[in-house]
């Protein structure tokens, strides 16, 4: 329908963005009806998303014409931004930025470096940056999931953790069950993506390769390669995050420093 109304591609894009934004806002309002307040976060995310992707899209053309070595700086900047966003998701968790930076840089960075060295990822900037950004973005999501789940697990099990400490257990050992749960749950999206590949979804990369004339079998195999790399970098990020995060909730004297937030009691007016 929109294509009939808008002949100009730019206008068509704006109209499509407007429709999808309206749907997202409708979901937000539906959540509000159920007293789940996502208004601020949704609006900020939508505005940030459109501004960021438009800005990057505009400068990407220029950047992708640069020499290959500039891709290192681009990817490093993406890792730093991913660490910041991931740590913002885990407010209250001590040292969350440092943990996120180490985990994403080691997890995604090492897979990108290894795969580039092995020739799986082309060294051309037009290939390295888009594929690298996919790995970094997925590593960021996994890192956020690990930290969020870990924080809520610790907050829900303060009594058991302190019982372990009071019995002379090593502080890191007292949170081991919660670290395991956090890592397992954070990898569900990456594992499901791998399992459902080609059946439930055909990712954009493969569709793009087919449209640009690549052989279908090679496009399919390369899509599997990409999803496998995403799984590897996410898994490595989760493991590194879990190693670093377990010590962050304890003081040097092995005291639990993370406490559940005080839940506000709703104001209930007594009946007249």
């Amino acid at each position: 329908m929109l294509k009939e109304w808008f002949a100009n591609q730019l206008l068509l894009g704006c109209a499509q963005a407007a429709v999808t934004t309206l749907v997202a806002l409708a979901v937000m309002l539906l959540a509000r009806v159920r007293e789940i307040h996502l208004e601020r976060e949704t609006v900020v995310a939508l505005v940030r998303g459109i501004v960021q992707i438009t800005a990057i899209g505009s400068i990407l053309v220029a950047l992708l014409r640069g020499p290959s070595w500039t891709s290192v700086f681009l990817l490093a900047a993406m890792i730093a931004a991913a660490a910041k966003m991931s740590s913002d998701r885990s407010k209250g968790l001590p040292g969350s930025f440092q943990v996120s930076l180490c985990a994403i840089a080691s997890g995604a960075g090492s897979v990108i470096a290894l795969m580039t060295w092995a020739g799986v990822i082309d060294t051309r900037i037009t290939s390295l940056v888009p594929i690298g950004s996919m790995l970094i973005a997925n590593a960021m999501n996994t890192n956020s999931l690990v930290m969020n789940r870990f924080r809520s697990e610790v907050e829900s099990h303060v009594g058991l953790i302190e019982t372990g400490l009071a019995l002379g257990a090593d502080s890191r050992q007292t949170v081991t069950p919660y670290v395991e749960v956090s890592v397992q749950s954070s990898l569900i999206p990456a594992i499901d993506s791998l399992r459902s590949l080609g059946i439930v979804w055909i990712p954009g990369l493969m569709a793009g390769m087919l449209l640009s004339g690549a052989r279908p079998i090679y496009a399919a195999i390369y899509q599997f390669v990409t999803i496998s790399m995403i799984f590897s970098s996410s898994g490595l990020t989760a493991l590194i995050c879990s190693l670093l995060i377990r010590g962050s909730v304890f003081s040097p004297a092995e005291q639990l420093v993370l406490r559940p937030p005080q839940i506000a009691v709703p104001n209930v007016r007594s009946g007249a």
Binding site: E162, T163, G164, L165, A166, L167, G168, A169, Q255
Partner: protein, 268 residues
């Protein structure tokens, strides 16, 4: 009995005191190390201990010496800092100022896991690890690399009246039974000092009496030093060698049961 019902304390105490004195004498009689030097030295020297949270002193300059083998009960109104004080003794929380000496040694020089093995703790709610009763008892010794055999587990469980139930899962235990397991688990690390944070306050009246008697027996039999937080003055009178009163984080009074509870204006 809560602190609010203190008008009834003098009459209640006259009934309790005889029992308390009996318990005290019995305890001395059963103590195997009676008369040795260690029986009468201070195991815990608490020196100007403070803890400040958000600019408020929740424990304010508490200095007290606790004699080895004695039972000190800490009483006071809600929010007086009793539990906060207790958590400083095994360093579950960090003092803002002051220190504690365990058998003459500054506890900041002792690695926290080792300190906590020597200063055991039983909390108001028994947080049991998933698994069997035996798994729970094995936990503490395992931290020192010791695999507790069936016999010592059974001996510990017999002490708390749960003999023959080592293999039972903890999921369906009653509150009183869970608290007994928690006590046996604390004893499994062979502590010198036992901290009890209102161990009977979450129990019904019958279980409360049973667990209180059990604690007293176990503490005396194992020659433990015990620091117990209670909001129940009658309970303090029944179990304490010494009573310490806290209010707004400060130690306001300390002495024997009769000295403290009879003191005029003590809890006003």
């Amino acid at each position: 009995m809560s602190l609010a019902a203190l008008d009834k304390v003098p009459s209640l105490l006259s009934a309790c005191r005889r029992h308390s004195d009996q318990v005290f004498l019995t305890a001395r009689f059963h103590r195997p190390q009676e008369g040795t030097v260690t029986s009468y030295t201070n195991i815990l020297d608490i020196d100007h201990l403070n803890r400040e949270v958000g600019g408020v002193r929740i424990v304010d300059d508490v200095t007290v010496a606790i004699r080895a083998g004695s039972v000190l009960v800490v009483v006071g109104p809600s929010g007086a800092g009793k539990s906060s004080f207790l958590r400083l003794l095994n360093r579950l929380d960090e003092p803002t100022g002051g220190t504690v000496r365990l058998a003459g040694r500054d506890y900041k020089e002792i690695p926290p896991p080792e300190l906590r093995r020597r200063v055991g703790m039983v909390t108001q709610t028994a947080f049991l690890f998933p698994g069997t009763i035996a798994d729970n008892l094995r936990f503490g010794p395992l931290q020192q690399g010791i695999e507790l055999a069936a016999e010592p587990i059974e001996a510990l469980l017999s002490q708390v009246g749960l003999g023959g139930r080592a293999g039972e899962g903890v999921a369906h235990l009653s509150g009183g039974e869970a608290q007994r397991v928690s006590l046996a688990r604390a004893l499994a690390t062979k502590p010198a000092v036992l901290l009890l944070d209102e161990p009977t306050s979450a129990l019904d009246a019958k279980a409360k009496d049973e667990v209180e008697r059990l604690i007293l027996t176990v503490v005396r039999r194992n020659d433990l030093t015990c620091v117990m937080v209670s909001h129940d003055l009658a309970q303090a009178a029944r179990v304490a060698d010494q009573v310490m009163v806290m209010n707004k984080g400060k130690l306001t009074k300390i002495g024997t049961v009769s000295e403290v509870i009879n003191a005029e204006g003590m809890v006003r």
